[in-house]
């Protein structure tokens, strides 16, 4: 056999060997990283009747609430019920503080896409008790298209415009 022929034969064997090796590697990858068609949901693996957020008997607020101008509620930025409850609780806590940073955080949440958080921010602004919140509340009232929300915000403004009760020390 001529050397050239031997060389070509050897090259062919090498190529076959390489092809077989490549196929084996691909098969291993599929076994260790199986591709599934299962969709990933946001729901954590919990008990079957994991509670949805507290809602009224009417349609959920989240679907009925009009979209605020600078915040759109989408599936991407929608928070889980636990996250919403945590945020609401945090705003309740901020409402009982007396520092400017807490008030700024509260007022920023008046434009949150989640209606429950906007409501908690409105309540926290009232509980904080500083009339400095009035401009932000008025602005939020002007910008919302939800009539009920507008009323609540304007009621908050009216409340903060009242002087606080001063109970004098008895004689």
């Amino acid at each position: 056999m001529k050397p050239v022929t031997i060389a070509i034969l050897l090259l062919g064997v090498a190529m076959i060997f390489l092809i077989v090796l490549k196929r084996q590697t691909m098969t291993k990858d599929v076994e260790t990283h199986p591709v599934t068609t299962e969709t990933i949901t946001d729901t954590p693996p919990v008990a079957p009747d994991f509670p949805p957020p507290p809602v009224t008997t009417e349609t959920s607020e989240a679907t009925n609430a009009p979209m605020p101008p600078d915040g759109v509620l989408t599936t991407e930025n929608a928070l889980s019920p636990e996250a919403i409850a945590e945020k609401v609780q945090h705003l309740e806590t901020l409402g009982m503080n007396d520092d400017a940073a807490s008030l700024n955080t509260i007022l920023a949440e008046l434009r949150n896409p989640q209606p429950q958080i906007r409501e908690a921010a409105r309540d926290a602004a009232v509980q904080f008790g500083d009339p400095a919140a009035i401009p932000a509340l008025k602005k939020a009232a002007n910008q919302t298209e939800d009539v009920d929300e507008k009323i609540l915000l304007l009621q908050a403004v009216k409340f903060l415009e009242l002087p606080p009760l001063r109970v004098p020390q008895p004689n």
């Binding site: 919990v46 507290p54 309740e92 503080n97 009232v126 606080p164 001063r166 004098p168 008895p170």
Partner: protein, 240 residues
């Protein structure tokens, strides 16, 4: 050398004699360091938003008495806490006449009204001054577990809730009292209890709008209107 050895002996002797004193001081310090207020986990935070219309002054010309318009003032949770702090201080049940920033008014599972700090640690029980009572003939809608009585997962109760505030018996207190009540919508959401330890998370929000009542502030009568809310988010445990 002998002198320095003697000095060491004397120093050691002094140390031994002071050791009991040092030990006692260290133990006392440790005891105070660990005397932190109790943390309450199953409390419903209460917030109020009241408008008070106080009786206006009057003039009388002998024939006609003319009353001025009522003075309108707002009373929020912080304002209520200020009054409670002054009352508790007058009772010597609290060391200051104000509560720290971040303090909250709360209702415990047993019905006691308390003031807690921002970490839900108990500051003082104020049940002798303020009571929050819910009527017994409330109506329920939604789903309730027959065995546990828990919401499955949501239920709503409509009831009449009344807040009664009275510090008039406290010497040196604010002489402030009122009663207000309203239709309370209490929405409860319960998770399924853990089978091994009976623990479950409960989220409950209650709200009474258009509440109304009356009271007096240091002899000046007033009508009180507004709303109050309750908020609970806690891990509770089924009774064994």
């Amino acid at each position: 050398m002998i002198a320095s050895t003697e000095n060491i002996k004397i120093t050691m002797k002094n140390l031994r004699s002071f050791l009991p004193v040092l030990t006692a001081a260290a133990l006392a310090l440790a005891a105070t360091a660990h005397a932190t207020p109790a943390k309450l986990n199953d409390i419903k935070t209460i917030s109020v938003e009241f408008k008070l219309q106080l009786q206006g002054s009057f003039t009388d010309d002998g024939t006609v008495r003319t009353y001025a318009k009522p003075t309108i003032q707002r009373l929020d949770t912080k304002g209520l806490l200020d009054i409670l702090a002054a009352d508790k201080y007058a009772q010597t049940n609290y060391p200051a006449n104000f509560f720290p920033a971040g303090s909250k008014l709360a209702l415990t599972g047993s019905g006691a009204v308390v003031v807690v700090n921002r970490n839900n640690e108990l500051l003082v029980d104020v049940s002798d001054i303020i009571r929050i009572e819910t009527s017994t003939n409330g109506i329920i809608s939604g789903r309730v577990d027959n065995n546990t009585g828990l919401a499955r997962p949501n239920d709503t109760e409509l009831a009449i809730t009344r807040i009664t505030f009275d510090d008039t018996t406290i010497i040196g207190g604010k002489n402030f009292s009122f009663v207000i009540q309203g239709l309370d919508s209490i929405k409860t959401n319960d998770a399924v209890p853990n089978q091994s330890n009976g623990k479950y998370r409960e989220v409950s929000n209650s709200q009474a709008t258009n509440a109304a009542g009356e009271g007096q502030s240091n002899g000046t009568r007033f009508i009180i209107t507004g709303s109050f809310k309750g908020s609970l988010n806690a891990v509770l445990q089924l009774p064994t």
